[in-house]
Symmetry: C2
Subunit: 105 residues, 2 copies
DNA sequence: GGAGTCTATGTCAAATACGACATAGCTGGC
DNA sequence: GCCAGCTATGTCGTATTTGACATAGACTCC
């Protein structure tokens, strides 16, 4: 069958080079974390630049103050979606976003 | 109490200018959708450029072929997190990622 | 020192996103 | 034709993420 073959392939993928895959994965995860951190910094910077409070920003994106606080704190329970939504809602300009990436580049 | 006042503020925020807020929100959502679309396109382009299949990519990021298909199809059940993870796993350069994100302007 | 504002942190039920799986369609080589 | 690999779509149980709420700390102004 198809599915069983697919599964065998996946199982094989696990066995062969699992250490390398782990390293690769952790590298990918690190890149994602870096990206999140940069964006989170941009959220706080943009919000402050616009002089709006966490409550204000929460209202703008139909979220709550506590979520904004968690976003800015880099809380693990915050998705990239939410971070970017906050960035957009805060009114980040293209330059703001670009600046966020400079740390990564 | 604090909380009740906060709640009143949020309720007021709802009432006053709800139409404008709705328009604002839908604009934000549109921006997010545009961003996702740009990234999704980059995922497929990068994957094809590297000559890897959806199964390959799925293994690289410990996901499944069906999820990759959904990512590339722009399925609503796919988060920005997963899209970016796919982009990174596909081997997109940081410049590629940046380029896609800059669309927020 | 009390009141107001802003931010941080923890909890929780409900909503959403996840991987896995099944299965179908499509294409190209045999 | 048939088979193989690749992709698309739907479902499902589980895991993660969410907004809301409570509450506490820091700081300012009266």
């Amino acid at each position: 069958m198809k599915a069983s073959k697919l599964k065998r392939l996946q199982a094989a993928g696990w066995k062969a080079g699992s250490a390398a895959e782990f390293l690769g994965l952790s590298g990918q995860e690190a890149a994602l974390v870096d990206l999140k951190l940069a964006l989170v910094t941009a959220v706080r910077a943009t919000r402050r630049k616009r002089g709006i409070s966490q409550i204000d920003l929460a209202q703008r994106m139909r979220s709550s103050q506590s979520r904004i606080a968690k976003i800015e704190a880099g809380d693990a329970s915050v998705s990239l979606d939410l971070i970017v939504r906050a960035l957009i809602a805060a009114g980040a300009s293209q330059k703001d976003v670009q600046r966020a990436f400079i740390a990564i580049g």
